[in-house]
Amino acid sequence: MTDAAKERQKGTGLGYEAWLRFRRNRLAMAGLVMALSVILAAIFAPSLAPYDPFKQLIWTEGRAVRLAAPSAEHLMGTDLYGRDILSRVLYGARISLQIGIFATLVSIVVGVPLGALAGYRGGFTDDIISWIINVIFAFPFFLFVLAVVAVFQNPSMIVIYVAIGLVNWVSIARVVRAQFIALREREFVEAARALGLPTWRIIFVHILPNALAPVIVQATLGMGSIIMIEAGLAFLGFGAQPPTPSWGLMISEGQKYLGLGKWWWAIFPGMAITYTVLAFNFLGDGLRDALDVRLKR
């Protein structure tokens, strides 16, 4: 048998078809490339960064490197302490992605089981969980996180992940719940019950895999908003603390100098945030279109 025939025999999964649809979508591919570039920047920051992001060059090179404008030497200029902004922006990707990934994991760990429970069980269980979801939705997202973080004197990164995750889970839970409500009525779920399969197996093997596509989309779109939240927290001084190279913190420190013509300290991290958030939004939208199995059964 030829390899091609073997390939046919094995069959093509829905994942492969989704990838074909994704690949045709230019904006989605742009989002993927942009997101990958941020991820690569985060991983290889130590080799990519021309300088140590923490090193205050004014002590070795003098006042010339204090708030130096972008040049061949320092592509994005330097800040008040003579730190290389390009290096700090590259290291900043680590902070943003770390927050984005861990807060999303917290959201998924909390949101998927609660959403699944509400959607599958319905009735009173659903009423209670939906009520909690609606209350959290009604609360200003940012203020809630701010309040949680403010309780701690010296917030560690873990506090920030958990605080963001504890608010962000509601958007995940809501899509999971909607999926479970729709899927539990489907005939293949009824067939699984008729086959005598136990409830846990119906939930995890039959329903959950079919409910994951919107979770992936929601989680990806959520990455963008989490990164914004983190930047906002850092800007207000409740997030990452100096001298961490966090984008929000850099804007916060640099904004005072915007009016003095020293725009590069705040603008470059701002562009990094915009780039990253856009990347995840494009990626999320592309995934939504590509993974929508309802378009084709």
């Binding site: 069959g11 829905l14 008729a194 039959h206």
Partner: protein
């Protein structure tokens, strides 16, 4: 009328009412009487065809019979066992023995599972064969259902409607059931494919000694496969008889009207068409008395008041009508 447990499968007084929730507070403001006091029996290795127009409660009867929907009232006895009680105590074995084949070949297969897993999952769970023999077992089952075993690692979306229906049949029959509810298994298929699938079901019934409840709205399909035929109208059985008797001597006015609607293949013979007027009443507010009296050409005063019981008029021919 029919004694519980006296036959291979007995359904007695089966009711399924769905609460109707309206308004902001979703308070129950009424009931949909989808299945209302249905009783019948099926003998071993025979096929009972259940016909009726859409929305008359055929599918709900099939699902409630299997306790996939909790019955509001009534009992189902299968081979001497009370199905409802056993499903509460030890559902596993009974589920294996009573299976269902669905109407929609698109919605009834999990799109994220390969055919092998769809057919083999429950076989493994019920421990019907050793895990080393599972692959051979699934291949054999697929072959018996007219599918190519080498396609077993494909996904449902790679198959046609008829092939998917065969996968659904293989899934149900892989558990070696004794009783199968066939819920309109061919009505979503092309006419050319329908007969293939019907013949497959017939052959497998012979081979595996199966008993079928065959639900359909298509009289010619039911005629092809059934030994006995039951007619349902607005949640109730109106007539039940052996096939020959049913077609030669229909007693209920509704059955007579249904049969008169079958086109005759001979253009010179003109059948006398009984035209029914009006629409099926809503199952939310079913008419009092006989459910059919609003459209029945022969309805009398009594039909508007009393519900006619399903009685045996001789030779296991049951009819629910006051007329003789």
């Amino acid at each position: 009328m029919i004694e519980a447990g006296s036959r291979y499968l007995t359904v007695r007084g089966l009711k399924k009412y769905f609460p109707l929730r309206r308004g902001v507070f979703r308070r129950a403001s009424g009931q949909i009487k989808a299945v209302d006091d249905v009783s019948f029996f099926i003998n071993e290795r025979e096929t009972l065809g259940l016909v009726g127009e859409s929305g008359c409660g055929k599918s709900t009867t099939g699902r409630t019979l299997l306790h996939l929907l909790e019955p509001t009232e009534g009992e189902v006895h299968f081979d001497g066992c009370d199905v409802g009680r056993i499903l509460k105590e030890d559902p596993k074995e009974l589920r294996r023995q009573m299976q269902i084949i669905f109407q929609d070949p698109y919605g009834s297969l999990n799109p994220r599972m390969t055919v092998f897993n769809i057919v083999g999952e429950a076989v493994g769970y019920h421990g019907l064969v050793a895990s080393s023999a599972l692959d051979d077992y699934v291949c054999d089952m697929l072959a018996r259902c007219g599918l190519r075993p080498e396609h077993r690692f494909r996904y449902p979306h790679e198959f046609s409607g008829g092939q998917r229906q065969r996968i659904g049949i293989a899934r149900a029959l892989a558990l070696k059931p004794r009783f199968v509810v066939c819920d309109e298994p061919v009505s979503a298929l092309d006419v050319s494919i329908q007969s293939q699938v019907l013949n497959l079901l017939k052959d497998l019934q012979e081979e595996m000694k199966l008993t079928y409840l065959f639900i359909s709205h298509d009289l010619s399909v039911v005629r092809h496969i059934s030994d006995r035929i039951a007619v349902m109208y607005l949640g109730r059985l109106v007539e039940l008889a052996a096939k020959a008797d049913f077609f030669s001597n229909p007693l209920h006015p509704y059955t007579q009207a249904l049969l008169s609607a079958i086109p005759l293949p001979d253009p010179r013979r003109k059948g006398k068409r009984i035209l029914l007027e009006g629409d099926v009443p809503s199952p939310i507010n079913p008419p009092p008395g006989c459910p059919f009296h609003t459209r029945c050409p022969k309805a009398t005063e009594r039909c508007r008041v009393d519900v006619p019981p399903l009685v045996d008029v001789g030779g296991d021919h049951f009819v629910a009508c006051f007329l003789d």
